[in-house]
Amino acid sequence: MAGPSSYDVVVIGGGVTGAGVARDLSLRGLSVLLLEKGDWGAGTSGASSWMIHGGLRYLEFDWDTTRLSNVDSGHIVTIARNLVTRVVFIVPVLPGDKNNIEEVETALEVYDRYQPLKHSHPHRRLTSDEAHQVEPGLTPDLVGAMTVEEWGVDPHRLVYANVQDAVAHGAQAMNHTRVIELIKDAGKVIGVRFRAPDGEISEARARAVVNASGPWAPEVGAMAGVSIHLRPAKGIHIVYPHRISNFSITAESVDGRDLLMVAHAGFTLLGTTDDDFYGDLDSVDVLEDEVDYLLQGFERVFPSIRQYRPVRTTTGVRPTLFKWRRYEDELSRQFAVIDHAGEGADGLISIAGGKLSMYRLMAEETSDAICARLGHQVKSTTAGRPLPGNESDPVPVAELASRCGISGLAVVKLQSRHGSNAEKVLDEGATSRILCRCEPVTEAELTYAARHEQVRTLADAFRRVGVAGGPCAGAACILRSAEVLGRELGWSASQRFDAAREFVRGAWLGRAPVLGNAGWAQEELAQGAMRGLMLVDGTR
């Protein structure tokens, strides 16, 4: 076992909140160690709806939460310009909906007061005919519709940008590193013991430890003998590898919940469910019933939905704060910063609850609590300080495409991930050959990710640069990607093949619940292209 190293703060959990805390504290001049048991943003953050929203539905519960959410969304949109895209919803109103069209417009009029805080336009009201002109796929049974704006974000890149900035300001960040013990001394948490990817166990001593592990927070809390009461809620999304509608669309589920079909840049997320979850957080399955529940809700407003071929599903568990006698959907999305000093775990602070849209604020308040404990009088600067890749404007697409010999679309996608650092990525020295044609991703970008962005598996590559994220789900690129990554990480030929098989097996779990006829055709093609080597389901 390696000897202990010392930090001001150890942060456990590399989701968006943990990464945000690490960035905030590093910018305030504290030494930080950030530990994540899987990959950055691979848990709840990555399984979100990929949205920075202002919390329209909170108007029913607490207007101040809506205001705060809009303020913080505005900060995120400003500091992460390359990672966000405008998401414009059509809110169709049908006869018999739970809210009539005047009630819907009232809520949007109130919401318009907060929209400027996140650089969004006010709502527009459309008649049924007008709504069909802008979104012809809507059901004919419309009373009318509204538009409302939110922002889409790539949560994987958002998490990593926070990690990257924390590291640039002196933090140490390790993914695939599991905390196995909180070290206590006389009722005080003084550090952590953790297992690195190579199996080596090490210790880190710290003046404070932050538990930012989302739904795993009770598990980490238990290591220090404290109880954290959450009400974990499972949510799934169906992923379509194209935009299938002009606008994003809202719908009502059979039990009256709000559902969203979010048209992101080049793909569509349809979600989400919200169910109490009692199972294993490391193994959350998607059920075909959940898929049908979502499709049923959307079929009512967008009848052709079942004609489209989904490419996979995602699932995650929200770390919702505990409350008795509430339906899952009615639970508050507020967050709590919990100091465990009074529970015999002095030095341990947990952050629980909240949403992706408010991650920066959650990180700031957690960091404030840490700084108050440590007597460190420095204020947060994360609201106005650009994340990496946003320090300057990116090079025009045509110029970079011509200089590097790649397509304009490849540049657009590269800039959406790396912003003004795109050129640096392409200058990595590797070939700019296109590796994943659907996305598209260059070999240089994957090489850069392996060398500089802590990509250690093909699933990490999927999250960091989008390899295998398109319509073919990796059929055409996963073996090539394994070659490139293997070359960088020193894998043998069999390790490269095993890595590809592991990726295909993991992807299969998310794809199986949504395979229809066209999906099976794609699956057969993929199996054929890989000569059956990737067969993941022996029963077929």
Binding site: E60, D62, V110, R124, I244, S304, L409, C438, P471
Partner: protein, 131 residues
């Protein structure tokens, strides 16, 4: 308390909204929608193409069309269907990728195992790339 307060304020806003709707003449806001969102590339699929749209996105990236007909502009045909047809709002910035001559799209469609109408796909993509 927070919820009761919110509901009261919403009820007040609702009353004001109804009064305004009665007193003011309403006008079409369709032009505002187009003016706001067309520059963002958000309006993509037109009504005439809507019904056929599910068929236009069925590419399984087998690559046969590339063997049959090659490229459209600088772009390989499978990329046209599997990548450009994903309707990115920023596609206009990559318009030079698909500028130039069209190959024999009838031949490309004939070899497609899922019967993708490539001429129609090309038309949608080219329209999307026009700013």
């Amino acid at each position: 308390m927070g919820r009761a307060d919110s509901l009261v304020k919403l009820a007040w806003a609702y009353g004001l909204h109804l009064a305004r709707r009665r007193l003011r003449r309403t006008r079409s806001q369709l032009r505002d929608v187009y003016a706001t969102y067309n520059p963002e590339g958000i309006r993509a699929v037109e009504p005439a193409q809507r019904e056929r749209h599910p068929r236009l996105v069925t590419c399984i990236n087998c690559g046969l069309c590339a063997l049959a007909a090659g490229r459209i502009g600088q772009t390989r045909l499978p990329d046209l269907a599997s990548s450009y047809m994903r309707l990115y709002p920023r596609l206009g910035e990559a318009s030079f990728d698909v500028a130039g001559d069209s190959p024999d799209l009838v031949a490309a469609t004939a070899v497609c195992p899922v019967g993708l109408p490539l001429a129609e796909v090309a038309e949608v993509v080219r329209r999307m790339t026009m700013r």
